[in-house]
């Protein structure tokens, strides 16, 4: 029995890792035949890939934190702006270097998440609606400080570590490990899953659904701020926005999150799955850049794939049922034909 279980587990892990591997092979083939180059051809590509990946992993994990409990937090993008701009500027002013920028940003991002969570459990208005209100507030705060300059990391001393591939890999592993420990192997995670099943039953069983929710928001804020630091490092600066434009980050990271949830279902580890989903989507975008496709065309292709994936994911049971039905009919026809006298 134990062997069977471990075999299943091993198979699940292999399947989870196989998805990005298949995507990479496909993209490599397309790039080699169409553009005559590899998806990841040089050290700049490696850096770009890792930097995008860490942002995507952190953001997608942050979205899934609340979304898995039926709470769509639209203010995550704005929390990212507040965390990165405030944390980044304070850390730069104190000469704390790249790690200082990251830590302070995550602290302030967490504070934003905490505020959001506390407001949510007290007002108890719909999460999506609360997200809109908090987005308006956070964006305004970002825009009003530092002469609307945001944060500039380009050329600042001590922040080079944020571009270091080894450091980025370390951060990705740390994020996924902490998230997996928290949501899969801790008392918090146990309660989180109970709430995911039924909030009412969990509450009746004595679980404090409110503190669990606040912690989810807090963790989401920490993660998005981390994503914001690496996004800023990649682009050099982060300028504040108004008019709920920050929501774009939430929508952009939905694909890796949803794909990750599907991949993670093989190994029963959603966090690991999200990391794999992020790798898949980043490989895809990197390959499209190599093919020289304009950004808008890339968007159309990525989101069309996203749509096809959702259609498949939503209807997979129906497809499986239809397949089984066809097989049953074929078998019945075969049996009938075999029984008929020659």
């Amino acid at each position: 029995m134990g062997n069977v279980l471990s075999k299943d587990r091993l198979l699940g892990i292999v399947k989870t890792v196989a998805v990005p591997a298949v995507v990479w092979i496909l993209m490599e083939l397309i790039c080699r035949t169409q553009a005559g180059t590899s998806v990841v051809a040089n050290s700049a590509d490696v850096r770009t890939f890792f930097r995008n990946m860490v942002s995507t992993v952190a953001f997608a994990l942050a979205i899934s934190t609340n979304l898995n409990c039926g709470r769509m937090d639209l203010s995550l993008g704005a929390q990212m702006y507040v965390g990165t701009i405030f944390g980044g500027n304070i850390a730069l002013a104190l000469n704390l270097g790249g790690v200082g920028v990251l830590v302070l940003a995550m602290l302030i991002g967490g504070l934003c998440g905490l505020i959001c969570g506390i407001v949510f459990v007290n007002l108890r208005i719909l999460p999506m609606v609360l997200g809109l209100g908090m987005t308006l507030l956070f964006e305004c705060i970002c825009f009003s400080i530092n002469n609307q300059q945001g944060v500039i990391l380009y050329g600042k001393p001590g922040v080079e570590i944020l571009s270091n591939s080894t450091f980025i890999i370390f951060v990705v592993i740390a994020l996924v490990a902490v998230a997996a420990l928290l949501f899969k192997y801790s008392r918090f995670g146990y309660r989180y899953r109970a709430i995911q099943g039924s909030q009412k039953l969990a509450s009746d069983a004595g679980i404090n659904i409110f503190s669990n929710c606040v912690f989810c928001y807090l963790f989401g804020g920490i993660l998005v701020a981390c994503a914001g630091v690496f996004t800023t490092m990649y682009s050099g600066s982060l300028a504040p926005v108004l008019g709920m434009s920050s929501n774009g980050y939430v929508f952009r990271n939905m694909f890796p999150m949803v794909l990750g949830a599907w991949i993670g279902s093989f190994s029963h580890n959603a966090q690991f799955g999200v990391a794999m989903g992020a790798i898949c989507v980043n490989l895809l975008t990197l390959a499209m850049s190599k093919l020289g496709l304009p950004l808008n065309v890339q968007n159309v292709l990525v989101y069309s794939l996203f749509l096809l994936f959702i259609i498949y994911n939503t209807n997979k049971r129906k497809f499986a049922y239809n397949r089984a039905k066809r097989a049953r009919i074929a078998l019945a026809k075969q049996t009938k034909a075999a029984r008929q006298p020659a």
């Binding site: 979304l67 409990c69 039926g70 709470r71 769509m72 407001v119 949510f120 459990v121 007002l123 108890r124 208005i125 719909l126 999460p127 999506m128 609606v129 609360l130 809109l132 209100g133 908090m134 987005t135 308006l136 507030l137 964006e139 305004c140 705060i141 825009f143 009003s144 609307q148 909030q199 009412k200 509450s203 659904i209 409110f210 929710c213 108004l242 008019g243 709920m244 434009s245 929501n247 929508f251 952009r252 939905m254 949803v258 304009p294 808008n296 065309v297 968007n299 159309v300 989101y303 069309s304 996203f306 749509l307 959702i310 259609i311 939503t314 209807n315």
Partner: protein
């Protein structure tokens, strides 16, 4: 008589919270509350600006500014009432306006521009609807994908230079045509939603989908109808947008879906739909947002802080207008 007095004496007394809950649960509360808030804000700004806010030019400006969002918010009320969400309406409007402007460039006819914009609005909304109804994809997810795809297509079609439409022709149509078209659409929506079986079915579906289906309502047909109504409104908003600016830029409609949602919720509509849904919530919400923006600017609040004020006001108003649940509100949107 004395027995009655005894009975009333023994009955538990209603607390203030209970009384507030009774008022909040009244069927007309979602209608009256946002409207009275709008009136209160309006009066406050009149006092604070020394009467300047009641000037005809200011009022016309407020109406003109809120017209596009109000049209789209009225349109999406049909979708929201069924419990579905569509935040892609801004980008649908953008793409519809873009194709309408391109049609104008080919034919040099304003009529063709209007027809194409409206038709594209309906077709795109129906496409969103089909994805939801045929492939069972959640409407919020469809909207996220549609937003990005339509936005990208609009950017590709428009290119670096905005697509121009004859400005003189736009100005001719901008005045009365816009007002008449909006009022007509608004009245039709209002009647269809509150006085016909269409609205009743949609609200029923929003309240309890299974129950609605078991009473013989064709869910798919009713939802498709809601998207058609929404498509007409979104197409109309596209026409208004072209008439207002005389061109179509690359970023047209981006972020407007969120503005529409904000206006709808601010107007007293629940994004979960149901019996308390109404079509004029969007109009009230859109006007409230514009009144707030204009009023705050007129009393000298820095433009960078206005959004923050709007956020605080929005949260307070939504809190006052919604029922506080014992557990946390949530819904599996995906």
């Amino acid at each position: 008589m004395s027995q009655k007095n005894e009975l009333t004496h023994d009955a538990p007394k209603l607390t203030l919270v209970d009384r507030i809950d009774i008022i909040k649960n009244h069927r007309l509360f979602p209608v009256i509350f946002p409207l009275s808030m709008l009136v209160v804000i309006f009066l406050i700004f009149i006092v604070l600006t020394g009467g300047r806010f009641a000037d005809t030019r200011v009022l016309t400006g407020v109406f003109n500014q809120s017209l596009i969002v109000a049209t789209m918010a009225t349109a999406v009320a049909f979708i929201y009432s069924t419990g579905n969400i569509d935040i892609s309406v801004g980008n649908v409007m953008g793409l519809a306006a873009c194709l309408g402007a391109l049609a104008y460039q080919v034919t040099q006819s304003m009529t063709v521009m209007i027809v194409v914009t409206m038709a594209v609005g309906i077709v795109l909304m129906m496409f969103n609807c089909v994805l939801g109804l045929v492939f069972n994809v959640k409407s919020a997810m469809v909207a996220i994908v549609a937003m990005s795809v339509y936005g990208a297509i609009t950017s590709v079609l428009v290119g670096a230079e905005p697509i121009g439409v004859d400005f003189k022709a736009c100005k001719v149509l901008e005045g009365n045509f816009r007002y008449i078209a909006f009022v007509l659409y608004f009245v039709v929506c209002l009647l269809a939603f509150s006085r016909t079986a269409i609205g009743r079915k949609l609200r029923f579906i929003g309240g309890n989908e299974n129950c609605a289906e078991q009473t013989g309502i064709n869910r798919k047909k009713a939802i498709a109808t809601s998207y058609i109504f929404a498509g007409i409104g979104v197409g109309l908003a596209g026409v208004f947008q072209v008439l207002r600016t005389g061109n179509v830029a690359q970023t047209i409609g981006s972020g407007m879906g969120m503005d529409v949602m904000l206006a709808t919720v601010l107007g007293g509509m629940s994004i979960f739909g149901g019996a308390k849904s109404n079509t004029f919530a969007g109009f009230v919400g859109a006007v409230t947002v514009t009144v707030l923006n204009t009023g705050l600017l007129m009393i000298g609040v820095p433009s960078t802080l206005i959004q923050g004020f709007r956020g605080v006001f929005f949260l307070i108003l939504v809190f006052l207008n919604s029922e506080r649940q014992k557990t946390l509100p949530s819904r599996q949107q995906f």
